[in-house]
């Protein structure tokens, strides 16, 4: 510390050297040499090369014209439903294919021509433009602030507080009308997500055959999809109902069922579970016969159907709801009630 106090920095040799260097900066080895001289292209020198470029551009533009004519011809000539084999694309609609190629070529050639023209025949001399600061000069800024102050003062906005406050109030309230109008976008949730179409006594209808399911139809290793009796594909709310009521049915040897309640709610090892994944609601459709695991193909949540359909892998948060089933007087499978918990994805009110 003391040595520094004795000799002022600027007198040290190192500082002297630097100062000396600063003078020499005029011949900075890294100095900007400025824009390099323009190098002429062959088209700039040789008129024959330029002519060649001109012909190339004209050829591309002509090709585009030809392609457009071919487009119109294809549109008229090819029927909309004609399928042909074109290697390596396979079986394609000849209309679609020819329209696409001709239009594509017509457009591409215009582009290629224009770019070739720009690159070979238009001047390629680089020039420099000045930039100007975006910020306003202090004078301009001062003038603007002054104008604003005058304008604000003339309005009395700051002075007449009553006007200001009521105006803010009015502007803040008026959008509420818009918000209120949005209310009828949909009904309130109420208990809608807690119930499905299943009721005691509703028969299980096979989705494929539209016939009531009988226990003997369900063999070990098969996966069957069912819907409640009375639901028709043509009915107006079919999509809404099936989104909650879709059911999958498998038969498991009763001694392989690990969950006690599952066994009770089954019919001789036939178990019925909601098909709607408890993650975000995809229909589960992959079944592994040996392990009785089902997998949702959307996000790979995996459930063990022999153990209360608990989650064994993936992002689902809880087990699939089970539907309690039995057999009615006619020997068909029937529901013994609705699901005892909401099906599908979890939500705040689910509990």
């Amino acid at each position: 510390m003391s040595s520094q106090e004795e000799i002022p920095e600027e007198n040290l040799p190192s500082e002297q050297g630097a100062a000396h260097g600063a003078v020499e900066r005029t011949d900075d080895p890294f100095a900007d040499p400025g824009l390099p001289a323009h190098r002429p292209r062959v088209q700039d020198i040789d008129e024959r090369a330029a002519k060649r470029s001109e012909r190339a551009v004209a050829f591309l533009f002509t090709l585009s014209m030809v392609a457009t004519v071919a487009f119109i011809a294809s549109f008229v000539a090819f029927p909309v439903d004609k399928i042909v084999f074109i290697f390596p694309f396979g079986h394609v609609s000849i209309l679609h294919f020819s329209l696409g190629l001709t239009l594509g070529i017509a457009l591409f050639c215009i582009g290629a021509g224009a770019v070739h023209w720009a690159r070979t025949l238009m001047s390629d001399v680089e020039t420099a433009d000045d930039r100007h600061p975006i910020e306003a000069t202090p004078e301009v800024k001062a003038k603007v602030l002054e104008d604003f102050a005058i304008g604000a003062a003339e309005s009395g906005f700051g002075r007449r507080k009553l006007i200001r406050n009521t105006m803010f109030g009015a502007l803040a309230l008026v959008p509420l009308s818009g918000v209120v109008l949005l209310r009828d976008l949909g009904p309130l949730p109420e208990k809608k997500l807690r119930t499905t179409m299943w009721r005691k006594g509703k028969q299980l209808i096979n989705m494929n055959t539209n016939e009531p399911l009988r226990p003997e139809d369900v063999v070990v290793g098969s996966l069957t999809f069912a819907m409640p009796e009375g639901l028709d594909q043509h009915s107006e709310d079919f999509q809404k109902q099936i989104a909650k009521a879709a059911l999958m049915i498998v038969r498991i040897q009763p001694d392989e069922i690990k969950d006690k309640r599952e066994l009770e709610w089954s019919h001789q090892g036939i178990v019925a579970y909601s098909k709607i994944c408890t993650h975000v609601g995809c229909p589960i459709s992959l079944y592994e016969q040996q392990t009785h695991h089902v997998l949702c193909p959307c996000h790979q949540s995996t459930f063990d159907l022999s153990d209360g359909a608990r989650v064994i892998f993936g992002p689902a948060g809880h087990a699939l709801p089970q539907l309690r089933i039995g057999v009615n007087a006619e020997g068909n499978l029937e529901a013994l009630g609705d699901f005892d918990e909401p099906v599908g994805p979890a939500f705040w009110e689910r509990g």
Binding site: F30, A106, C109, Q300, W348, R350
Partner: protein
């Protein structure tokens, strides 16, 4: 000031039209400023153009599609030209999409162009955004334009989502169901939001019509405004350029708008359009006829969203299924957390310019682009973000990875869970190292010249490789970048021994600044003295 002579001269028709317009719009003034405006040239500057042109193509083809599409969820029995689906119940939306594909001549082509252009639009925006990011083109005065671009990307994602959901096919319907399940997970208001969005229980009969107005009017309207604003700002700020001989922060070097840039950019529009049309002709995308109409109880395997939604798919797939039940309520963290991270992933990159400008404290305008290596921390952050994004994309396609590469889906999921946290960190460290290595190489090149490949044998038998010195332009280019010094807090005790309060923000800033520009975060560029000493003769190397 028109003289009698002027009046007597009969102006050509074009000039008379221009005069007429000028008298009402002032076009001569506009043209004076812009007709010969200079645009710098670099291949990476065309990425934004691809995005712009695909946006125009989407609008053109989209208008055509609205002429034939019926945004209705009324169930009808199909009796159109596609035989395998005849007699099947489907929504009018799906049926009219089939009609566009099979009964309207050229309808399939336009549909395919629309979809392909949408995929390319989003991809071009992302790559363009990365170009802007890695070259530091977002710095003052262009921060607002960065935000406009970011908003375009995000709105583009949602326009794409609402668009591919319109045909009401099995694949997109599954995506909408996913979205509805995610909305349900929102605490307190989730069920209400879902009911209001779908006009009741899922799927209801409203969402196609609602998505339609959002897809063709609301979002594209906003986007069109943003695109125009984005372009006006590009013109107003004048384009950035890379450092090089004759290029400074105060000029812009390149070719004039008329004719070169106009021909190149205009031509490029046709090139992009032409290529997209050809791709649409030969590569089928979204074949809704083989996917089938939506049914909430059916699904196909390998269901994937369009690529730009893939990272959200990854989030939802790899998140553990946490659910907390308390007091009769359920907190669906397994879905809600991904729903929260989804915007955060995007916001992380959007706010970066503001973080960097706060760390540097630099208030100057920047028109010279950085080479990514010369901003190692920024580059490393960008690569880390991209790694994050692509790890999630992998997660979004975990089933495809499993089936295509015969891997265990559980292993892939666990890999993504770990890589979600570790991947960006590793990418950050590796990228920074690579940047520093490249900086060293630049310094080496400046000081010793380029390796010529010529081996010389000296009189005493030693072999040396001859290095050719760089040209002046290259010397300037490799040393033109500016190197920040880390910001210091300065003495916390003044000369009178009074302690100065240092806010936590200030401390954080100094820490970050040290990390950005401190030792080990940049290689000091060669100084003139070093260069002179080496080139002055004594000592070859």
């Amino acid at each position: 000031m028109s003289t009698a002579d002027d009046k007597n001269r009969k102006a050509p028709a074009g000039e008379r039209v221009a005069d007429w317009a000028d008298g009402r719009l002032g076009i001569y003034g506009l043209a004076k400023a812009n007709m010969r405006k200079i645009f710098p040239d670099h291949w990476s500057f065309m990425l934004g153009e691809i995005a712009l042109y695909s946006f125009i193509i989407i609008i053109l083809t989209g208008v055509y599609l609205t002429l034939f599409f019926h945004p209705s969820m009324n169930e009808v029995e199909y009796h159109g030209g596609y035989v395998p689906l005849q007699g099947v119940m489907m929504s009018e939306a799906f049926a009219s999409t089939l009609d566009i594909s099979f009964d309207v001549r050229g309808g399939l082509l336009i549909r395919q162009i629309h979809h392909w252009a949408a995929l390319i639009f989003l991809a071009a925006m992302l790559v363009h955004m990365m170009r802007v990011f890695f070259t530091g083109a977002f710095r003052k005065p262009r921060e607002i334009n960065w935000l406009f671009g970011f908003l375009l990307f995000v709105l583009g994602m949602f326009t794409g989502f609402t668009g591919y959901s319109l045909p009401d096919d099995l694949l997109s319907g599954t995506g909408v169901r996913f979205m509805q399940g995610a909305v349900l997970s929102v605490p307190v208001v989730g069920t209400y939001l879902s009911m209001f969005l779908f006009g009741g229980e899922f799927p209801g009969g409203d969402f196609v019509a609602r998505f339609y107005s959002v897809h063709i009017l609301l979002l594209p309207g906003i986007m069109l405004g943003l695109v125009v604003a984005h372009l006006i700002l590009v013109f107003y700020h004048k384009h950035t350029q890379f450092a090089g001989p004759g290029r400074t922060n105060r000029n812009v070097v390149g070719m004039p708008l008329l004719p070169v840039y106009m021909a190149k950019a205009g031509g490029f529009f046709f090139l992009v359009f032409g290529l997209i049309v050809i791709v649409s002709a030969i590569a089928t995308i979204n074949p809704i006829w083989s996917i089938g109409p939506y049914r909430p109880d059916q699904v196909s395997t390998g269901a994937q969203p369009d690529w730009y939604m893939g990272f959200s798919e990854g989030l939802i797939r790899v998140m553990p299924g946490w659910e907390i039940n308390f007091a009769g309520h359920t907190l669906v963290l397994g879905v809600f957390i991904p729903l929260i991270i989804f915007p955060l992933v995007l916001v992380a990159i959007a706010v970066y310019p503001f973080v960097e400008s706060w760390v540097t404290g630099d208030k100057r305008e920047h028109h010279i682009l950085d080479r990514p290596r010369n901003a190692p921390t920024r580059t490393a952050f960008g690569v880390a973000w991209l790694t994050w994004y692509f790890v999630l994309l992998v997660g979004g396609g975990n089933d495809l990875w499993a089936t295509h590469f015969h891997l265990s889906i559980n292993a892939i999921t666990w890999f993504v869970r770990v890589a979600f946290f570790a991947g960006p960190v590793i990418a950050f460290i590796v990228t920074k190292r690579i940047c520093l290595g490249l900086q060293r190489r630049d310094a080496e090149k400046v000081l010793h010249g380029r390796e010529s490949g010529v081996i010389k044998r000296l009189p005493h038998g030693e072999f040396v490789e001859v290095h050719t010195p760089l040209e002046q332009g290259d010397l300037h280019k490799l040393t033109a970048h500016e190197q920040y010094k880390p910001a210091e807090i300065g003495p916390t005790v003044d000369e009178n021994g009074v302690e100065r309060k240092v806010s936590p923000g200030e401390k954080l800033r100094a820490k970050l600044s040290e990390g950005y520009y401190g030792e080990g975060s940049q290689i000091p560029k060669p100084t003139a003295e070093e260069y002179k000493e080496i080139t002055s003769g004594h000592g070859h190397h």
